[in-house]
Amino acid sequence: MIRRMTASPKNPIAVARAWLPRLASLKIAVICIFLLLVLTGWGTIYQAEHGLYAAQVRFFNSWYFLVGGFFPVPGAQAVMWVLFVNMVASMLFRVKYTLANSGNIITHTGLLVLLAGSFVTFQYAQESYLPLKEREMSNVSLDRRNWELAVWADPGEGRQKKISAFAVGSGQAGQEIDFSEFGLKAVLRAYYRNCEPGQEAAPGAPGHGEAQSGGKLVPRRPSSDPEDNVAGAVLNLVSAGGVAKEVFLFGGLEEPASIETAGGKVMVALRKKRHPLPFTLKLLDVKKEEYPGTGIARTYQSDVEILGEGMERKTRIFMNNPLRDKGYTFFQSSYFVDQRGKETSVFAVVENKGRLIPYIASAMIFGGMVIHFVLMLFGFGKRRGNHTP
């Protein structure tokens, strides 16, 4: 029973003492669980139409979302936070610490750890991917959704190049980007989140491939999953010597645009944002095995070599068997063969310091359940009294 404060209503400690235990109410937990249920079902149906990423953004990662453009509904993140606070409050104010309850307590503590771990993953985990052709190597992985402008001085054939990457920023027209270390001034004339090469440079035609220097870019509607978007940018470059050039950069092409400066040729490209890896990974060989007489894949495996800082070792990455090294994990993600028969292996790269938290949480929850049922078996639990319905 909450008593009305007769003394000072603004006494914070008194107010807290009155209200905090309410936070521990089981009814709040029930409401949260119910909301989570509804959100999960709703989000799953939404996903069928709009794709997983859009569903995650709207239902699962959000604090709230609007229905019909105006009616606010809490998102899963909000619900889980409330549930977290509710559970903590329960542990502090409501739960009775008895032997009979010990299993339950451990289980719920484990649940708290699970929620905390999911938050850590949500905030700090880094996911990227790495496609490698056979015999190719890389010390960076690619972001799935974000783009960057890469600029470098052409060092000549076969020499190592040092690439500087620049964030695209807001993508506003007229934005200035500082390429001064290359002796260039750059102004962003246009940036498209999703586009394709224009009519002037149709695929296959002689002008194609020169979208980087001459062709136009046609903006497209961005897909509901940014992973499917191919960005494009139009830059006005002015070198120190006064040479001006307008370049069309299309994210779907590997070929960079170039401009002559006093210091030599400078290359510019729009590409998926790179993330540095703690070592270099080289793909030696990738194999796809099929069941004979069918197109069904039996296994995909990649033989890779880890290079860096004097260390070199070979290992094999295949389905259900990732490579874990230096806090990064590499998974066999997919495989394809191009028209020339060259095989490419694609790895999913994950850096997640909170990776082990769900394991710990699950062990706690499972342990708590075992203790609870064992105790119940030995007559420690109270039988629920049943009343007429």
């Binding site: 089981l26 937990a29 989000g43 069941y291 004979p292 894949a297 389905m319 997640n352 319905p389």
Partner: protein, 630 residues
Amino acid sequence: MKTLKTLIAAISLNLGLGLASAKDVPLEGLKSLPVLEGGRVKPLDTYARVTLLQLSSKSTFKGRPAIDWLARVMFTPTQAVDDAIFRINNTDVIYALGLEPQEGSRYTFALLGPAIGKLSQLADKAMKVDEKKRTPVESEIIRVANNLSLYLGIMNSFLFAVPHSDFRLEDPATAKALGLPEREGPYSYLEVRSRIKVITALTSTLMTEGGHGKSPTAWSPEEMGAFQLAQRYDNWSEHYRSFPIHLVPPLDKGTEMWLSPWGMATLANPDARAEAALASIKNMVDAYAAGKSDEFAAAVVGFRGFVNEGGTGVFKERSIGMEILYNALDPFYRAKILYGFAILASLLSMLFFRKWLHPVGMALLGAGALLQFVGIGLRIGISGQAPVTNLFETFVFVAWTTALLGLVLEFYQRKGYGLFVGAVAAFCIMLLSGKYDNDGDTIGVLVAVLNSNFWLTTHVITISLGYAGFCLAGVVGHIWLIQAAINRHDAEKLETLDRMTYAVMAFGLVFAFIGTVLGGIWADQSWGRFWGWDPKENGALMIVLWGILIFHARPAKLIGPMGMAAGSVIGIIVVMMAWFGINLLGVGLHSYGFTSGVANALASYVGAEAVFLAVTLFVIKRSMWMGARA
């Protein structure tokens, strides 16, 4: 699918066949010939059943086992043209092909043959439509076209062994010159093959590069005859080289692909063993066609010897034997029948003669569970994999679990409820499984991402146990609601049922939770993230959340036993949604094709449960209200 256009030729080719009718030739040896199909080695018996099932939705024909039918089609195809085995489900398709509706919706090859051109045309058009947007008619056309294509492959698989009008010689003198038997009728591909060196020698001088041969008008009758034979021979070799049925283990150890009889007949450099194998194949065909049982059996043994020799390390004799046993036993179908009778016995024992019907019911339920256990065990031996790897197997496993749980509950409680709910749940789930075995061979191969016996065993089995718990709890919930509607003052019965619901749902929740967690761990090992809000993950989460909701609403005094019973009934729906409702999402929202059969069934079920809940809750509530007024 081969375009039917190329196979239209095969139809005309078949008109040249003429054979004696085959009498009842025993097929024991034939049944157990191993064949590579769908990525795994299985007995011909399974191949026959699955193929017949695919074509006609039944695995027997006219009461005879499928292998009977298959042998007829393979060895004496002209005898099979009037077998009504092509099932067509859509009347629009029947009319589109210019056919008249037949009894049982099954059509013969003789009827479909003339319609092939139209079918091929329609199928090509239907294939161009995106799969999700196809109408039921288009889907059915494609299905029938694929089936016909499959049938054509099978019926021509031994064509090389019988005489064919394509290989005819006008002049008997040519036959002598080429070394072919002198007779009226045509030759078989094999006969031409045996003289191919002579034929090629003769024809090589006729048309050389640069046109330095004799002009065709100057060819002798021998040269003309030889040339025609050679042309037809080359055409056939090219066309039939890749026909099914893959009965011959790889001849060189460098490949995993098996050869079909045609593959053997068109080998570039056959050795003595291969020739011997071909000869025994020919003996099989001849003996069967002539109805000579002993010779047929001997030929099969001869061929099998060749297969065993080449098959060491490639297939396991024991697995083949197990599968034949499994096919004959049909354990799941029989278990389903036993469960049905167990329900009957249990009902009757509760309503009338309790004493002796109860152990009968227990025996029936136990026998069904035992049969399922044997069936599952055999499947593990046959496939070498974990027992639950596809949707069909989940149904079988969950049904088995509910039967076992029912038996355990009954031993513990001895009130008759355990037996009843176990039998009901097991029977209903096995009924459901029937909807998912028409895809053909239910023992499949594992796709790469599933290729891990450890996770398949732990994650899939725990989730299945979770499903079983919730399903069984839901059945108990139904009984609670019915009992309360009849007489809500019978506290003893209601308390027993309520405790049962609680215990069984707790079992389900624990395992559903463990299973979901194991799924997360597997996902972390495989894809790099513990949780991704994937539909299947969400389905499992919803089951867990539903269970947690009920188990928290109860101590919060938001619900009592009635709420729990109703909640358990809804729990079944949540489980169904997660189990196979999710699979409909990719299809259901955009297409109204054949698979909507499951969607409709699910919708009807949900509707029925809604009515049930409304009625029982209304009756109970009204009784409470009336009782309160008194």
